[in-house]
Point group: C2
Chain length 247, copies 2
């Protein structure tokens, strides 16, 4: 057995998310089947760094697996890309130490969220951005982002349905930048872990603050109340990208 680490990008639009599910097109399902084809078995189990939902994209998802044949890294890269559909690209294939696990070895993750600012939806970006046509004061968003950085109980920012009890996470970095060329604002969040839908709920709350619909320091209140109903909005999946996983 040879242990591998793959880094990949995908357009999440036409996947029912990362995680394998019966009768659905999933990223994990497509990868496991392709590896199975190479090894002439049904399927090779892979471990991903974490799930992404339907419509959520990845610029640097990471998976790890044991493969029965030792194939050089470059040959693995070429072979896998030749078996991939056009909405997945394998960026890198590497040998990994036996104890490397895409999920358990991860020390942190970076997500990006793109928000289109046009008056109407741009047809070419509808699948790759969220959309917020309202006036937005980035200075207010910046003040709120300073409240996001640090170690907090993010209960108010986790969609229900998760089984995770401890909802304390540390955000090392939270930024927003204006991208006037594309008429977008782009958020990035780098932290030790993220709860279900957390980035999308953070972004929705930040946009409401930037448009004056919430107090700039509403995050401090939301950490206290630990109530998902108070944060309300969830920005659409289309704007969200898993950008990098850190090991």
């Amino acid at each position: 057995m040879t242990h591998y680490k793959l880094t990949l990008a995908y357009d999440g639009t036409n996947f029912a998310g990362y995680q394998i599910q019966p009768h659905q097109r999933t990223v994990q399902g497509v990868l496991q089947k392709a590896l199975g084809k190479m090894a002439k078995v049904d399927s090779i189990h892979i471990d991903g760094s974490g799930r992404t939902d339907s419509g959520v994209h990845a610029l640097g998802q990471v998976v790890s697996f044991d493969f029965p044949i030792e194939i050089p890294e470059q040959a693995m890269l070429r072979a896998m890309n030749s078996l991939m559909p056009l909405d997945i690209e394998i960026l890198k294939a590497e040998f990994a130490p036996e104890d490397f696990h895409a999920r358990y070895s991860a020390k942190g993750k970076r997500y990006m969220y793109r928000v289109a600012r046009g008056r109407f939806t741009d047809p070419f970006n509808r699948l790759y951005t969220g959309h917020w046509p309202y006036p937005l004061d980035l200075a207010k968003v910046q003040i709120a982002l300073d409240d996001v950085v640090g170690t907090h109980d993010f209960t108010s920012f986790a969609a229900s349905g998760g089984v995770i009890v401890n909802k304390v996470r540390t955000i090392y970095e939270a930024t927003v930048r204006d991208d006037p060329e594309h008429n977008e604002v782009v958020f990035e969040f780098y932290g030790n872990g993220f709860l279900y839908n957390m980035v999308r709920i953070l972004v929705a709350t930040l946009l409401e603050i930037g448009s004056g619909r919430r107090d700039v320091h509403d995050f401090l209140r939301l950490y206290e109340v630990k109530d998902r109903q108070q944060a309300r909005g969830t920005a659409p999946a289309s704007g969200l990208y898993l950008k990098e996983v850190y090991y």
Copy 2:
């Protein structure tokens, strides 16, 4: 009756082309139905500047039509966008002189073609570019583009099936530029008219010249032979954009 001119952008991916067809989702069909809805009739006939094929995009398609009610330009813009699916955006709505016809009044058109240069297909650009991973000498392409500019018989560059007999067209401008930020090369063609699939065949031939698979002056031979079989390739629809129509 009030006569209108609309300028619109669309992502051609999920349309069976511009032109209306029974039981198919087309740009013309969607527009005619929306205008019909506003006027409380079944459908309002529109004239487009020309067809685009399935998968071909538009950044500035133009249509004209008579509308039974006089609606201010900005109200027409807002109303139409509120009725559009997310893959069409109305960019401009204007009153037009009665004799304005999107097709017959057009004096020229500009097309753009985006070619992705990466080793593998980028998942996020697969619907919005063609792909040419081979070495490409842009100096050779530039020499060939100088042969494209001017008045020529483009019989070798017209897909069969058209009913047009006169295949002489004038290209005023034909350019290529490197876009290293996106790892693309971008072609533009501005001319008085274009035959069926002409831009896509031009691009395929230019890429073959740039990769040394054809003589740099092969265009001169192809104008002479007037034989579609000699030009062979057709670049994919996904890279093609109707950029502007000139009146």
